[in-house]
Symmetry: C2
Subunit: 440 residues, 2 copies
């Protein structure tokens, strides 16, 4: 009987196993997961910290029992894989009961990402990472007991944690290296709006680099000053978690595991999926690494399909990102303007501000849209939106458009719906597009 | 000097004139409009009746003065065009000051649509049409003075008026010919949800045809019974307003004015745009008539571009529709399942119910998604969504997908964003798509 082993039971690992199970009802499937949770949602951590829900089991889409009983997938929680022998096709690991060993015909590496770190001195008992749901209860207890908290890093995680903590009354110092928040998600025009908004609730320090953290997390030393706090959250980004395999499996230039469009590594029977896996940017055709949950799930689905004998190709990524800060949703897809330039495009862009509803309909929210296109081909390269409602759907629409090479004019003609209660007859996206058309 | 005349100052007429003005700063441009309003938004009428706003001037995006002063477009309100001599290129009409006459080099016919009627007996002083913003104040005054109001027709306008009137405490009897409401927008599965919802507020009579209306609008006689009410709103749909030109300009099989993809009629210098104009359905390649505001605006834009010397082609329509009833947004795009069959496709479909937010995030709303695809080509043919939030964006995304011939698998891979506060990691649309994939 064929055996599939997955290393890591997050989104990618469980998606791959579930899909393989559906296609091969008789396959033996084993998932090793070092924590107590599988099919978990790290994305919920900030909201758990904010107190929007209290049951840690809600982090899991399905429990280990569910997978065992309903899908006949053997889930080995609290079991860390420590070595993989790719030639003999054997996985070695450790559980509470002792050492484990498993042979495989197919392997899925789905170990996710790990948080990037900062040099610390004098211990780290007050340094926190919002990373794995299995630690969320402890993280929350610790954070709730503090008053002044530093967040290092003003990317998505940084601002989501800032939202959560300011919402529950903590004093937050947000230290960010760049000149505005979310600079890897959106361009200056829109980033400034969010930076100003966050600054109303938190002390935002821009253009400032942390050099070291002392006193176990209570003293932050930057290139511009020192901050005495009760604890520090490090949110300076994540890296592919490839420690276990990096000497044996080919990595790509992004540092994540290199795969073909079937999600296969350099070993034919070894697949990789999720935050540890490299992909290809559909616009630039260059290697790209997009550590977000829908991509992880779909990569897992594709790996599972191919293992299950149903051929499927992963088309690549366009780097869709969405987050929120209080009343603002913030989304982007494609390339930022600088990125576009870097990749040899000749970007033109339009940024507009509008409202989300007809001028006569109550409670309209502000919305700001930036669209980036290539001057030569007129192809859409990127879209960024900051607004009070219906941001996600517009970003999703632009994701579809960018994935299939829509031009400015193609996008103009997308037959977006109009309802005064929730949109504008000239949708803000189309208003930005019209501005690009006038430049012709 | 060249002269452009537009007949009708709604969305299409003003969009065409404005675009032509931008491209040809010196052109003489005259718009004749039979009411007192231009660039008006009929879409706001139900909300005005509901009392969500009170200033009728808000119906106008821009005032006649704005067009005169800022765009040098001569707007002749309260001026009805009564005849067009296409051979001599002369427009004749009547204003309060008397007869008017204008020669043109280019003509845009943008007369919109007119409501379909029902045979009435004994007068019509209590029969109402929610059609033109210029009559909204009077309409609202009259409706507010009544208690029990019948609405004939359970399409988009019917349910929008039912929402407005039940919201302000009127007793509403909604009489609809088909077996569920919105049957020309969505299929049974989703239509039933809305039908049940509306039935909580209004007396909904299905499978019932109105035969005549008597007592000036106070007695409705159907094939099943009689209803005594204080007044009746007719909302059984609209027809292209082509009375003025139908003997001289070629109409299409939908009854609307036939145009090429430049929006030109059978006279080279005569364009047509908006609710009076036929288009082509991108999926079926057959003539189609989609009387909605974004289409009207874009048709006008294309006509204006071509008149202005900047060549542009209108790509056709996919029939995006969006409306709401209380806590539900309702959207569709593409073909309904029956429609698809009628056009020779072999439709397969999946209908799923889900939530709009992560299971742990508060205040998630219900959402129901139906996706229709062609079994042979795997191409997406239609999408329908009923849900509590973010319906429009998903429909817009599907509009983009359908316009460019996305397959089921293409759609699966659209990199939709995920934020627990406003979506699901497997988006409801993707869940429906996965169901279609499993059928393979
Ligand atoms: C706080 C936070 C918020 C986020 N918010 C969003 C969001 O809003 N939207 C979004 O799209 N994405 C978000 N993400 C990213 C998203 O969570 C990831 O993209 C997704 O979880 C990746 O899934 P994965 O299966 O690749 O990795 P993971 O979910 O990280 O799962 C990998 C699993 O492998 C296990 N593992 C690792 N090594 C071993 C080993 N040697 N042996 C056994 N098990 C091992 C780990 O314990 C882990 O459970 C967020 C991430 C974080 C941390
Ligand atoms: C109550 C209602 C709600 C709606 N809701 C929505 C919605 O939510 N979303 C959506 O997309 N669409 C909606 N629509 C449809 C939308 O309003 C139309 O698609 C849009 O107005 C069409 O623009 P148009 O310029 O073609 O026609 P119109 O807006 O009808 O303008 C045509 C103009 O021509 C004038 N005219 C006609 N004949 C003559 C003549 N002989 N001489 C001079 N002037 C003339 C008319 O007075 C009118 O002002 C709604 C329509 C109604 C009635």
């Amino acid at each position: 009987m064929e055996t599939l082993v997955a290393v890591g039971g997050g989104a990618a690992g469980m998606s791959a196993s579930s899909r393989a199970r559906r296609l091969k009802p008789d396959m033996e499937i084993v998932v090793f997961e070092s924590t107590k949770m599988v099919s978990h949602a790290p994305c919920g951590i900030p909201y758990f910290v904010e107190g929007l829900f209290n049951d840690e089991n809600l982090f899991m889409t399905y429990t280990p029992q569910f997978f065992e009983e309903k899908r006949k997938i053997h889930v080995k929680t609290n079991t860390k894989v420590t070595e993989i022998d790719f030639d003999s096709r054997i996985v070695y690991g450790e559980s509470r009961e002792g050492k484990i060993k498993a042979e495989y015909d197919y392997l899925v590496i789905s170990t996710g990402a790990i948080p990037r770190k900062i040099p610390v001195e004098d211990g780290n008992d007050r340094i926190f990472y919002a990373h794995h749901p299995a630690n969320a209860v402890e993280l929350r207890e610790r954070l709730w007991s503090l008053n002044t908290i530093a967040i290092v890093g003003g990317g998505i995680l940084g601002i989501e944690m800032a939202e959560a903590l300011t919402h529950i009354g903590k004093k937050v110092i947000l230290i960010h290296r760049s000149k505005y928040l979310l600079n890897k998600t959106i361009d200056t025009e829109l980033g400034n709006i969010i930076t100003q908004r966050v600054s109303k609730d938190a002390e935002v320090r821009l253009n400032e680099s942390v050099e070291t953290i002392k006193e176990g997390g209570r003293l932050i030393v930057t290139d511009k000053g020192k901050y005495q706090v009760d604890g520090t959250i490090i949110a300076i980004g994540v890296a592919p978690n490839v420690e276990l395999v990096k000497d044996k499996i080919k990595l790509g230039e992004t540092g994540a595991i290199k795969v073909d469009d079937h999600m296969r590594t350099n070993y034919r029977e070894v697949y990789s999926a999720g935050d540890n896996t490299e992909s290809v940017n559909i616009i630039t055709k260059k290697p790209a690494w997009v550590p977000f949950a829908p991509v992880a799930n779909k990569m897992g689905y594709v790996a599972g399909s191919n293992i299950g004998g149903h051929e499927m190709r992963f088309p690549g990524v366009v780097n869709t990102q969405i987050t929120k800060y209080k009343e603002f949703y913030i989304g982007r897809v494609g390339l930022q303007e600088d990125e576009a330039r870097l990749h040899g495009f000749k970007p033109i862009s339009a940024t507009i501000s509008g409202k989300t509803r007809a001028r006569y309909y109550p409670d309209a929210k502000d919305i700001h849209v930036k669209i980036i296109a290539d001057e030569n081909t007129k192809r859409i390269l990127g879209a960024q939106i900051v607004g009070g409602e219906e941001v996600l759907g517009r970003i999703d629409m632009m994701a579809a458009a960018i994935m299939k090479g829509f031009t400015i004019e193609d996008t103009f003609f997308i037959e977006m719906g109009y309802l005064p209660a929730i949109s504008r007859v000239w949708d803000p996206v189309i208003v930005a597009i019209r501005q690009l058309m006038k430049d012709e």
